[in-house]
């Protein structure tokens, strides 16, 4: 136990130490990130806007199986119009993702059996119109060609 008479001195030392500690930060480099000009580097795991994977022949990998719908935590976010092509395989005629409802959990990407959907690094999604956040199949395809990550077409897991 310290003596009580020493308390004022200890207090003054503590105060001085506090001020010094704060003052020492003046000489450190600012950690501010000036956002619109500079951005944090994102890695491949980042969960941003969705994109549908297109293979080398320009075809979608998606088979409209509906797994993404079943694992999506918010209802009616993903809507798929299914159709059969000439060879008898299913493909999505239309595929919409409603970003108004999406919570960007990444379940659809994780559990897609064909690796047909990915998430890009695009995260600045603010728009004037609500309808702009409803991504249809063309936007999703375009997102894929725009996206920086061109994931190598994943084989079936």
């Amino acid at each position: 136990m310290m003596k009580k008479s020493l308390k004022p001195f200890r207090d003054i030392i503590a105060l001085a130490l506090g001020h010094l500690t704060v003052f020492k930060h003046v000489f450190k480099r600012p950690v501010t990130l000036e956002y619109p000009e500079k951005k944090l580097p994102l890695n491949d795991n980042f969960r941003g806007e969705h994109a549908l994977v297109v293979d080398n022949e320009g075809k979608l990998l998606c088979t409209a199986c509906g797994t993404c719908q079943r694992v999506c935590p918010s209802f009616e976010t993903i809507e798929i119009e299914k159709e059969k092509n000439e060879s008898g395989k299913f493909y999505p005629k239309n595929y919409t993702i409603d970003l108004n409802k999406c919570i960007f959990c990444g379940n659809c990407v994780q559990y897609c059996p064909f690796g047909a959907i990915i998430m890009t690094k695009e995260y600045e999604l603010a728009d004037e119109k609500k309808s702009a956040l409803k991504l249809d199949i063309n936007t999703l395809k375009k997102n894929y060609s725009d996206s920086i990550i061109k994931k190598t077409v994943k084989s079936k897991r």
Partner: protein, 364 residues
Amino acid sequence: MEYLYFLYIDFLHKYNLPEFIGMATFPLLPFCMVAAALILVVLFLVLMERKVLAFFTQRKGPNRVGPWGLFQTIADAIKLLCKENITPTGAEKFMFNLAPLLAFVPVMVVWGLIPFSSEFDFMSYSVSALLFMTIASIPTLGILLAGYASNNKYSLIGSFRSVAQAISYELPLVFVLVSIVVLASSLNLRQIVLAQISVYPFCGWFIFPAFLGFLIFFICATAELNRCPFDLPEAESELVSGYNTEYSGMKFAFFFLAEYAMMFIMCAFMATLFLGGFLSPFGFYLSERFIHNDLLAQVLVYFEQVFWLFLKTFFLIFCMMLVRATLPRLKSNQLMGFAWKVLLPLSFLNLFFICCYKYFIYAK
């Protein structure tokens, strides 16, 4: 002064204006100059506060408006001017509108009392130190009115706290001032500064005999200004924004302006009392030493004196900002206890010590 007056009349004659207009408006000119200078200083001060706090916390501070963010405060001021002036329902309208003025006008007055250079001050009375303390305590009334008239419980509590704080911290403040008056044997601020001239550079400053007094004065000034760690009246975690919660637009700008202007003036006052005011810390003036043209040097000395005063003031303000960045807020009962149990006895001690010093050493 008279020479300036004739110049002014001459200037008016050129535009065919009669002399009585000159007579009527000439006394107003210094006031306009003071006001303009104060507003400019405050604009810079707000930016400085934001920048300095940013540096303490490894940020960049405002840097978007103008180079180095220089016009940030101007942009903020324009925003405040454009905003709607809201008077809340249930507020005492007259008092509500009066309060910002009551907080602002005394600040303008005391600003004129500071001696900027050895020849040039706007108001110089034989009791200007006393006058300073008297007028500087009026803004508290404005704060009380603001809190009372707003019809808001947060404002009310904030203004009560402000008044209690101002009353208890005024006492040690004045006792320290008395010790300075004893040292300088004068109540005139310019005489106080001139009494700090000594043979050796900066050894005559009153901070050396009255260092304890300086610390007390610094603490009390921080409390008077309602700045951290004594910012109880506007403690945002408890009282949202304290007494100015209900104010917006221009009226808020007045409070804001008054607060920062008062901070600058208090620091200038402190520099005047303890740090030799406009005296050069080298014992000689740079312009006297380096410019051999006598007339030019004589004029430049005055500007240099203003420069030294401002430098000292900004140093003190920087210290206040460091304190603000570091310390948490005091509690109201702790605050009172600190003022009455610690600062007041210490200020007596300081006064006693200074009197002895004056009697035994300084007077010889």
